[in-house]
Amino acid sequence: MSTPKSGEALDELSQGLRRLGGAVTGGIAWIGYAARFLTAVIWHSPAAFRRLHLTLREIYFSGVLSLVIILTSGLFVGMVLSLQGYEVLVRYGADEQLGILVALSLVKELGPVLAGLLFASRAGSAITAEIGLMKATEQLSAMEMMAVDPIARVVAPRFWAGVISMPLLAALFSALGIFGAYLIGVRVLGVDAGAFWGQMQAGVKVWPDVTNGIIKSLVFGTAVSLIAVLDGYDAKPTAEGVSSATTRTVVVSSLAILALDFVLTVFMFRGVGS
């Protein structure tokens, strides 16, 4: 056996750097490709809306079937938030602020982000798997050969279903969360109901708080839907190709949501006081 020379170590290092550089340029190239794909999807969207029942069907599969997980999670998150928040606030005698604490946390942040993550893992992965499977069984090719554009018929309805469903799901998440917080805060912990709702109403403004939450959920919905349909459309037409595309959708969507959340929050941050 020959002893490893320093030259080999240098080789390994440069190999690693090259791979890292490749990954970064690959990632940037992918963003460009995603942007082009998005343009193609939007271009073919009028067909998806002329055949409204296609999109409605996808809203059912993405939105309606996500309701159970969204509503339960929202309720639990709200209840936990209420418990944790109360514990801290009561030390300063500020337990009456519980309502506004919970409401702002949910509406501006937790609602859009958590609903987005849940949507990505439930509906996003399902969309990727479905499209990937259609590609693997040549259904997309069959459509092409029948002179039907698969982007118009298969991809666009699923994309728009995700974009439409996300804000609704995020709002439901926040609403259920506030309700759960009310149950725990007022009914169990004894915070004054009037203070709970009153402080909340005084502190939560439709513009910018509620609308910021809606804007966030729209952006997340677009990102998750785009990633889901893209990964499905590009999946390798094998069993493992589809499965790796599905995991990639969940991972990339989650990272995208968190990154976009940071960017949007910075944009919407107006400083303290007015």
């Binding site: 499977l133 259609m134 069984t137 040549e138 090719s141 069959a142 092409e144 050969m145 029948m146 002179a147």
Partner: protein, 288 residues
């Protein structure tokens, strides 16, 4: 009597066939195609006369499916000509390409039925997409196509409930839904039991003659092909190595054709995948 379903609804009710007076249905001239750096087709020349069934045979990976995709316009050749009904397929504008595809039918390997729709809806799909026909007429047409393949009673089943042979027949019915002028079959016999093999083979022949269409069958099933086709092309390593009518093929002395027809394990297509000499592999440590 088949009903022309292209064009506006009133035209669909008159029983005329839109015959294309142009030359041979399909022509490939010195077609080359490479996938990334691997050259798959190295100069293919073949022609398919109108109204005939032509089989393209070859071992797996010889480029047969690629030829179908070139004919259908899903791929563009690196060089050479691909003509369908006199039109050069790679040069067609998207609209013209789609118009051409509406007059072609394709049977994909293993069927490629839309799994979220019933049998009926699968066959109605091209009709609903490309015609303005009212639902009652579509229903009748779908039933006619199903009757032609013998599956009228399976109209409401889902693709997952069909056996392999049944699924293949439904896909065939879908391929002829709009009374195409050309039908391409990608491995129609793959994975079928002997009875279904016979059924599908007979359907291909009978539909071809009854509807006056041209058929291209890509397959490696020699037995079934020799029973039904009018002409065969043998493709190996990107070139046409032999061709002829079924009688010529059966009597051929070409080594490749003989290996293929007889199913011999070794011949022009070698048994051993390229590897270093056997002795070297076994005695590697001893010699070193």
């Amino acid at each position: 009597m088949p009903v022309a379903t292209t064009g506006a609804s009133h035209a669909a009710l008159t029983p005329t066939r839109r015959l294309d007076p142009a030359a041979a249905a399909i022509e490939l001239v010195d077609v080359r195609f490479a996938y990334d750096t691997r050259e798959i087709l190295k100069g293919i020349t073949m022609s398919v006369p109108r109204g005939k069934i032509v089989a393209i045979m070859g071992a797996s990976g010889s480029g047969k499916t690629t030829i179908l995709r070139l004919i259908g316009g899903q791929l563009k050749p690196a060089s050479g000509q691909v003509r369908v009904s006199g039109q050069s397929v790679p040069d067609l504008e998207p609209d013209a390409l789609y118009a051409l595809r509406r007059r072609c039918g394709m049977l994909f390997q293993f069927g490629a039925l839309f799994t979220d729709m019933s049998v009926f809806e699968n066959i109605a799909f091209p009709m609903r997409e490309h015609t303005e026909l009212p639902e009652e007429i579509i229903r009748d047409l779908v039933m006619m196509k199903l009757h032609a393949v013998g599956l009228r009673g399976a109209a409401q089943l889902m693709p997952s409930e069909l056996s392999g042979g049944m699924g293949r027949r439904v896909a065939l019915a879908r391929a002829i839904a709009l009374d195409p002028m050309l039908v391409m079959y990608d491995e129609p016999f793959a994975g079928l039991d002997p009875i279904s093999l016979g059924v599908v083979g007979q359907l291909i022949r009978r539909l071809n003659d009854a509807l006056g269409i041209t058929s291209v069958v890509v397959t490696h099933d020699v037995y079934e092909s020799l029973k039904i086709v009018d002409y065969l092309y043998f493709v190996s390593e990107g070139k046409v190595v032999a061709s002829g009518t079924p009688e010529e093929v059966r009597a051929s002395t070409d080594l490749y054709v003989r290996q293929f027809v007889d199913g011999a394990p070794d011949g022009p297509v070698p048994f051993h995948y390229p590897a270093p000499p056997y002795r070297e592999t076994l005695f590697a440590d001893v010699d070193a």
